[in-house]
Amino acid sequence: MKKLNNSKLALTLGTSIGLAMVAGSAMAQDCTTKIGAVLPTSVDWGRPIAETAQFAVDQVNAAGGVAGCEIEMVLRDTQVDPKVGVDAAKALVDLDGVQVLLGAVSSGVSMPILTSVSVPSNVMQMSCCSSSTAFTKLAEEGNTDGLFFRTFATTGVQAAVGAKVAADQGFSSVAILYKNDDWGQDLNNLIARDFEALGITVTASVAINDGQPSYRAEVTQALSGSPEALYLGLYPAEGTAAVREWLSLGGTQNMIMANSLKSDDFRENVGLQYLGSALGTDTASPRVASADAFVAAYIDRFDSEPNGPGLANSYDATMIALLAMEAAGKDATGDQIAASVASVTDPNGTPVTADTAGFAAARDVLAGGGTVMYQGATGNVRFDANGDVSAPAVVWKFTEGGTEEVQYLSLTEVDDFIASLN
């Protein structure tokens, strides 16, 4: 009956693309649990994030699904437009009855989804990639009802490690180029403060807007203070353009990159020969066996290394959400699932790996009343009271075939370093 109503709706709403005709083929199996994903699939770097989430769902289904039911991930595009993203999330909650929403990527989309869909409808929202400090503030004010989590370490970790790299390399002056959005502005404010705490002069902080044909003016401004090094808080597309101009105008090759530039496109389009002294930071932790397993499984599935931004985070967000659903049991509501997140990311729990076997092992432990410690693609994920994660960090550099780790900072080292800055 519901199917019929929905088909009618599609017709009345006037898409009239003839899609309703295939309604019959989409019949559900005996027991299917739906989860929603609201991700910017119409953007090039958004698509792999969605594929990785689906990958985690497939692994869990191979282990027999959650609470005996197969998981179906309903994927909706946000077009990076808040209206479209919120509408998609609302449709997923109201029409598909999902209790878990994965997404979104942009904080400007995740935030209205959280305030006008997730919290009012009591649905758990797990974002892979939203980094704005606004979520922490909202949680501190008690307005997220404990329903929001994110596997993307807050920008503070990224900024601190970037500043540490500069200090370790002995740079005394740095210019900053940052993406002019919430993530970039946060990053710029934080790292400028960290540089100052370490006695490093910031010669210029320049905002880079998307999609400009040339960044000559911005780059010239950054060059003017003759900095010893350049910090890049940019995404691959405008990062490539800005770095090309920077190098062609005689800027230094001493560059420090945020994890968003950990991309094959960036390496190929700038040229490896110019990136010899460039160091990147990231919050992933390849020290854990399950993280290697993730990389191996990813290569096995997609024939390439998981080098795009947010892939490991998207995987962990999906896995933790599904583990929490398993822990909460069949037909659990969003708040019950959110409350169960702690029991699958318990530092004292039984360690489980991030794959099909790990999920099956976790199911047994949870069925016996125990708790598990999820060892994921970004390390042993642990949420604080605001749903934020801190994380171990790595310093990396580009190589012929991808990226290579230069230095590893454990969670304690990262936390101690951040504490020493304040």
Binding site: N5, N6, L13, Q54, P82, V109, S116, P120, T133, N180
Partner: protein
Amino acid sequence: MIGLISYLVFFTTVASILAIAVLGLNLQWGNTGLFNGGVVAFFGAGAYGTLLLGGTPQPDHMGGFGLIYPLALLGGMVAAGLLAWIVGVLTLRMRHDYLAISTFGVAVAFENLMRNAEWLSGGAKGIRGFERPLRAALGDGFLYNLLFLLFVLLLLFATYRFLELLVGSPFGRLLRAIREDETAARSLGKSPDRIRLIAFITGSVIMGLAGGLYGTFYAFVSPQDVLPTLTFQIWAMLIVGGAGNNRGAIMGAFLIWAAWTASGWGLSRFAPVEMQIFAGSIQYVLIGLVIVGMLLWRPQGLFPERLVVSQSGHAKN
């Protein structure tokens, strides 16, 4: 079933808010022939104005004056009107494409100002901390959404009636006279510049109202809400609905927004799994096709302008 109703309430609210903005554009373009390419700036001024005036105080930017809601919404409309007055005085002497380009520039400048002026608008993080009116009494569940929808529908109807009266009045005839032949209107002793400015400001205030309601509904606004895409969406709604016809403007808003959302919903449900990942891109193509098809086969829109002869040539006396 409850879910379906709840979603439809949500959908109708957003569509009605957009319809109000389309009505504002219809007054400017449909009736007066002003090519406003910066709809989103006036929409955004309304949204930012309302949230700044009505929100709770925030440490990192100004605003949060906590005004009672009707005053905050009115303040948002005034902000849009002021912006329109400044922009109008500067640009309304330009015609068609020049006006479109300069107003488009104003909208881009507005977005960049909101993105960078952290002390004013919270920068790219946007404005939070707005308490939706009467939320404490009504909760924020289905009942709230339903009552808010009624409020929005009431304002949509009031705007519609106001514009119908305006367009049917001698002033409305004057607007059309200016649209069709400005020199002729001037030769009859009218002052096109002043009238164009009035129409521009009135239309923009209506867009500001829509923006204020939009900000209220999400209790949040960020620079991502004021990207040029919105201008394009509002224009598509007016073109499909029928420029010059208020009913068409409202229908256009509902149809385009329905196509926009339902195509995403339909693709997520019916497209094969391996195609899902491309659904976003397919959706763009489908929406583009609808608009191109409309322009090819029914350029006057679904509801064309009805030209009424308000005074018969055969006068009785």
